[in-house]
Symmetry: C2
Subunit: 532 residues, 2 copies
């Protein structure tokens, strides 16, 4: 950490010492502070070396976990077969487009009537840059990516209880909140409040940094000034020719920001999972599932609903209904089984696994989530409000409005993510509604932020994940206690069965978790097969 | 600003009162705080109403200012003609691609040998979302835009004098700096240092906000914890299956961050000009100039070097050399002249304008800038370092390394902006070098951040703007004093001549300034013509 020209130890030697004396965690932490990259759990395409001797694997579920397992086991020489409930691959990796139909639990069928090229991603919709496994499969399978805009400074933070219900630009709340913090800390520092914590030399740099970083004026005040305008923007933007001087705007006071609680929205732009550069596939997240499926011609049996899983010392037998043939029951037999069914489904099936794994399967509830896609005849958010991509956050039940990260500035129609509700009473409330009621409520909420909703709306569709027949929920929801008691039991190879999916990872609800879980599961399975 | 359900005045009435009693600036500020959008100097396509009665306009320079003037005056019924020094349109709006050649002042010619689809934007390279005029012309002329990534949390901040010269991830410096600020202010607040500035109720919310926003643990400390890891990332990322628990990283101490001065780099991500969502045209910034030129078939005379501008009461006569015909001198005569030549050029020409305008023309120096495009045989920044778009900042002379905001995750070759030097001694030092020396130095500097430079470099090109024959500098550089003494004189209609360009705006060095300046100039010119 010093500027020393010749440290007495090389960095790698030092790490070896730390690893030997203080163990893994200390070594990881030392790696970071010595300037090595963070360790990723993904280190490039998996190499399954050794002969599987003709072993067969039945894989349950053609989501990303199941298809990752099938693809890699197939490459390694296994005979693989996937049973999939839906008539498409991808699972929660899914884009709804014009012409699609979707029937939810309870029987309501929605027909998607979006225009060509427009879509809703009911499930995953953004990819962090550090989801290396997913990115690597996108590269290998030719899935073209484009940036997903998480933070758009010109989108809104909205509270129905503050600022008279008027949405505020993220840019202003962010700059004014951070400016006020800088002003308060500069003041406290200059008054000696940090004298016992920070050296005088460092205080001098700190004050300089706060002024630069916070947009403070020469007297360390965060007020209407050229300095604050540089961050928060202007009341009147600079222009060209005569009369073109800018006018600085008046910051929103700290009291108003604090009591509005709009600062809570800012966290969504700070977290590792949402940092730039995020991605989405061109044309919808479903392009990834489609690309995986293209790698598995003839391996996926669609419309196959698993009804039971038995195992013995020599293999696994999976019973399933052929949904296209009036529920005829068939059986699939293989040496091994990678089960990538959601735990919501699996916990309701007869499954022959050990008591600890069964307890784990039953221990994890699934989060509740509802998403809405709303098509408008005009991209008013761009044309009227200059919002290009990004997300507005609100305290209304819809929580999010996300603007498309594609087709910018081109006019024409667009589909907004008109709401994304994650857990809490509103998620259950909306799940209980009919699809038409959901859309009506999404329009009511959204019109409080964008009045143009009323005149520009054309068509909408919603997915309430607890009503999705193939998952019965959105994603596995672990607590510290369930992790401690059940996670390792869930992930063990149990006889001839191993589980995979986002629920069997430390990155629940993310596609990366599904893929990494599958890679870990098959690596262990393969080791056992080769050793046998 | 209150939650009051029925304010006594409507917002518009209130604004009228404020405008009447306190004047324009107060009204603009009130507009912002009342929730109206900031006032943009651009309000949609210009309407030049009234008959120009066959008036003719000669326009000097086919940059964005000149072409905006020509396009809009042409639409309004003027006879327009542009004289352009280069054999292409666009001026500083320019992309260098494989097959292009560029000869700088001094005679050195560089041949660009980039692969197909790769380019360097020697001039403007990014478009803020609030440059509404430019975006509107892009929309009208069918220029497709894609996001330009300014802030990539995984790119680097680098000081040759700190951290042993090892580049630091922006993510960690940003999270750790902001976390330390939050910790210090939470501490000062809890010790009563803000008691005279912030109410007790607000202090309670402030402390809660600092904990959430800064990643502090339950004891308000910024240390290795789940909370800080959520922002700064992990020493070991979470994974899937067994042994997949994440390991939190140790934050960099505030002392190290302060003394490294890497916090200075963070400002580049806060400012209004660089906030999300920024754009670039697909295929290079030059696509905009090309699109403008397509709107002006036959109106542009290329290879025409202006040598003098005379005017009388009835019109303007511009002398120019036809560079293709051994410098033959010709004259162009028109009723009016919109002169969009850079002041560096104009100040060296005989020009018949008033003394105040001449003084203004001579008063504005031009900033110095050098840019490098470096082609590498492999996108190692993505493949090895997971940097997708964005900019690394360094204290080395090259200052910036910018990673392409296109073609992500697709493998193959790529062109980095291998340096962007803006003013200061290094800009002059690099301008004085031969093109080959510049590239060699850019590689030396860059290799300190990316050692792969050495093995992966293929070909490079540089533009030092003070050696660009058509501008002799990068952009007009105003001070508070020159603005006060000269700006309005520069922008007046002087007899039959009016100037336009980024130099005649409050947004110097940006394309938006050029366009807004042209629109303002021709609006005033047209008013005069119609009134005559």
């Amino acid at each position: 950490m010093s500027d020393a020209a010749s440290p007495p130890l090389t960095r790698r030697n030092l790490l070896t010492l730390i690893g030997a004396s203080a163990g893994g965690t200390a070594m990881y932490q030392a790696m970071t502070s010595l300037g090595f990259a963070a360790e990723s759990p993904y280190r490039g395409p998996i190499k399954l070396e050794g002969d599987p001797k003709g072993a067969s694997v039945v894989i349950l579920g053609a989501g990303l976990a199941g298809m990752t397992a099938a693809f890699e086991l197939g490459r390694a020489g296994y005979k693989v077969r996937i049973l999939e409930y839906n008539n498409r691959a991808g699972g929660r990796n899914w884009s709804l487009r014009g012409g699609d139909a979707y029937t939810e639990l309870g029987g309501a069928t929605q027909h998607c009537t979006f225009d060509d090229g427009l879509y809703l991603n009911p499930g995953p919709w953004r990819i962090p840059y550090h989801h290396y496994a997913l990115l690597d499969y996108c590269r290998r399978f030719g899935v073209t990516l484009e940036p997903f805009i998480q933070l758009n400074h010109n989108a809104f933070l909205h509270s129905s209880k503050a600022f008279g219900g008027r949405p505020q630009r993220i840019r202003e709340i962010k700059a004014d909140f951070e400016g006020a913090i800088a002003e308060l800390l500069a003041k406290a520092t200059r008054q000696g409040a940090l004298d016992d914590a920070v050296s005088k030399d460092d205080q001098a740099i700190l004050i300089e940094a706060l002024r630069a970083h916070g947009g403070l004026d020469k007297d360390f005040r965060y007020v209407a000034s050229d300095e604050s305008a540089e961050f928060r923007g202007y009341a009147k933007d600079p222009g060209g020719g005569l009369g073109a001087a800018p006018v600085n705007g008046e910051p929103i006071g700290m009291h108003d920001i604090l009591t509005s609680r709009l600062w809570q929205g800012l966290q969504n732009f700070l977290s590792y999972d949402f940092q730039t550069t995020m991605f989405q596939p061109v044309g919808g997240m479903g392009r990834i599932g489609e690309a995986f499926a293209r790698q598995l011609p003839n391996a996926i049996r669609y419309g196959a609903k698993v009804t039971g899983i038995r195992q013995d010392e020599r293999g696994v037998t999976v019973a399933f209904e052929d949904l296209a043939r009036d529920g005829t029951i068939e059986e699939a037999r293989a040496d091994w089984c990678v089960c990538a069914l959601p735990l919501t489904i699996l916990s309701q099936l007869p499954v022959e696994v050990s008591a600890p794994m069964k307890a784990a399967i039953d221990a994890v509830p699934y989060s509740s989530s509802v998403k809405f896609g709303l098509q408008f005849r005009r991209r008013f958010w761009e044309e009227d409000e200059h919002i290009f991509g990004g997300i507005s956050y609100t305290d209304l039940p819809i929580r999010h409005i996300s603007y498309p990260s594609a087709g910018y500035n081109s006019g024409g129609k667009g589909v907004l993510l008109g709401g994304y509700i994650w857990n809490g009473p509103n998620a259950y409330e909306f799940t209980a509604m009919s699809p038409a009621e959901r859309i009506a409520r999404a329009l009511d909420d959204g019109a409080q932020i964008h009045p143009q909703y009323r005149s520009e709306f054309e068509t909408g569709i919603s997915v309430a994940w607890h009503r999705a027949p193939f998952t019965l929920g959105c994603a596995g929801e672990w607590t510290e206690e369930t992790r401690r008691d059940h996670y390792d039991n869930l992930c063990q190879i149990d006889g001839r069965i191993v589980l995979a999916g986002e629920h069997a990872s430390y990155i629940p609800a993310w596609q990366e978790g599904a893929i990494l879980s599958a890679l870990d599961a098959i690596a262990r399975l393969h080791k056992r097969v080769v050793a046998a």
